[in-house]
């Protein structure tokens, strides 16, 4: 089966010459990718609070749902057969968000972690994973949406400054199911996240959105792959990032593949970056490959810009000081996506963190 060239992970220890690895600073991955990391058998993912009726969570033997050519995921699977499994029962409508978090274990060893989230037939739920502290984490997260399921997965990377986190969040979306993913990456040394979506039946849809803010020296990579291989599926991607400080580096790759069978596909992806200082670098690569013309729509856009002087002037002409004006503009920039989280306390926490990142970056 053909595949998108840029998404071939080649399943061997990367050298950095591969398209899928060329931006990633391999030397800073703590050996997660090449087998030299000190992997430990633990799974730090835990339920925070009580489990609602219709939801189960356990650590158990686990089977991979899909195969992958991602070398890190395959190292995780080779290392451990256990994982965390979260199941939402068929037809369950879970009103409150299901809160998961990870304890951090420091950076002497690396956690190789498998996770499976199963959203049952016509279930409806919101799952939040809160990541904080300092850790080395290689994560193989599979998400299965059965027909008609609605699942929102909110993954928060509020790491401290030493964390190395490489993850694949792979969603398998069945007929008429809706997968919504919100990724927030505002901390860590190196974060490489692969939100990928596999549509396996018509009528499925996904909405992948995210925000990231990298300051001096941080590397954050978000690499989507949406595989339209069935008819009448819909995908939306919207990521927004800000960068400030020397050698802040972000990478956004938006791979969308519309295969010959995927008639009626509707897809649009967008990435916007706000460069807040010199010395920062934002790579943004939308990549659309289309094998059929019988589609509803396919498009992408990518922009990278600086503060809009007219916006700052307008705000300052109303007495708002420069720093406050910048903060308002940055909050406004991220608000479109952060407000989608729908949990006030988390939204305010993220915005406060973003304020802090902006302040840390100075002028």
């Amino acid at each position: 089966m053909s595949s998108l060239q840029s998404n071939v992970l080649e399943n061997h220890t990367p050298t950095g010459r591969e398209e899928a690895w060329r931006f990633t600073p391999l030397k800073r991955l703590g050996g997660i990718h090449d087998g030299s990391a000190t992997a430990v058998e633990r799974n730090s993912l835990a339920i925070n609070g009580s489990l609602p009726t219709g939801v189960t969570f356990s650590h158990q033997e686990i089977e991979a749902v899909t195969e992958t050519d991602d070398v890190i995921v395959n190292r995780i699977r080779a290392f451990t057969s256990k994982g965390a499994v979260l199941s939402i029962a068929a037809n369950a409508e879970i009103a409150e968000p299901i809160m998961l978090n990870r304890a951090s274990f420091g950076t002497d060893s690396a956690e190789f972690s498998r996770v499976l989230i199963k959203a049952g037939n016509h279930s409806k739920s919101v799952v939040v994973i809160e990541n904080s502290g300092d850790t080395h984490l290689a994560e193989d997260l599979e998400i299965v949406l059965e027909p008609g399921a609605h699942l929102t997965l909110i993954a928060l990377q509020e790491w401290d400054s030493k964390t190395i986190h490489a993850a694949r969040h792979h969603a398998i979306v069945d007929r008429d199911a809706t997968f919504k993913s919100i990724v927030v990456t505002v901390g860590g040394d190196v974060v490489r996240l692969l939100p990928t979506v596999d549509f396996i039946a018509p009528g499925a849809s996904c909405d992948l959105s995210g925000v990231y803010f990298a300051t001096a020296g941080q590397f954050f990579e978000h690499r989507m792959f949406v595989d339209h291989k069935v008819p009448n599926a819909k995908s939306r991607v919207n990521y927004k990032g800000a960068l400030a400080g020397d050698k802040a580096h972000t990478v956004w790759i938006g791979d969308v593949f519309i295969r010959a069978a995927a008639e009626g596909t509707d897809t649009y992806e967008l990435n916007r970056n706000l460069l807040l200082s010199d010395g920062a670098r934002a790579d943004s690569v939308p990549n659309l490959e289309i094998e059929t013309g019988e589609i509803v729509g396919a498009g992408h856009a990518s922009t990278t810009g600086r503060f809009d002087d007219e916006q700052l002037f307008y705000l300052m002409s109303r007495g708002i000081a420069m720093d406050d004006a910048r903060r308002l503009v940055v909050r406004g920039f991220f608000n479109e996506i952060v407000s989608e989280i729908g949990i006030d306390s988390i939204q305010e926490r993220i915005m406060t963190r973003i304020d802090g990142e902006l302040e840390k970056a100075g002028k």
Binding site: L315, A321, F333
Partner: protein, 250 residues
Amino acid sequence: MSTLEIRGLKVSVETEQGSIEILKGVDLTIKSGETHAIMGPNGSGKSTLAYSIAGHPKYTITEGTVTLDGADVLEMTVDERAKAGLFLAMQYPVEVPGVSVSNFLRTAATALRGEAPKLREWVGEVKSAMESLKMDASFAQRNVNEGFSGGEKKRHEIMQLELLKPKFAILDETDSGLDVDALRIVSEGVVRAKAANNHGILLITHYTRILRYIKPDFVHVFANGRIVEEGGPELADKLEANGYAEYVTA
């Protein structure tokens, strides 16, 4: 009683063709409670005057002074000018995505008053300002100027004038793009704000129709970067009849 004094103001903009002088020596004194209309053809530098006083970074002051009660306005940052009492109602108000009108107004009021306005009183203030400008309550939750019609943008500017209570209001072509009803509502807002705060007004316009609602005490004709004629309200009538032809043929 406050005085805004402009003396010998010369202003340039940098372009790819080099520096171009737009204002060629402007003298103007405005006192509290006075309404000065600046009228002139397009491209005469009226808006440059407005933006230069407000401190837009695009304009370089090459000569002259602007003082507010003796304080050097040109030394102030943009926000300091607002805090000193200057307000510019813009011809093309800027969109600020993701920032709600309500958040914006409260942030501005907090900055200008030096403390956050008490929530209950503030909500009442905003509500009454919006009602008198015939703005729907949902307006406060929309993002600043985003997707606003031309009329909504101007109402939003004048709502800020009412709420922020400056010493001097510069209204840059506030009448442009307004239909008759909107022009009346917006003008009434200006008159109401002036009655409440007795601020001075620098009203920049191309047309005389707004002067039916906002009566000027002084009219200044602006052409080619300077004031070329001054008079009372009767000067506006003359412009209405004759246009600007006699000032631009040189």
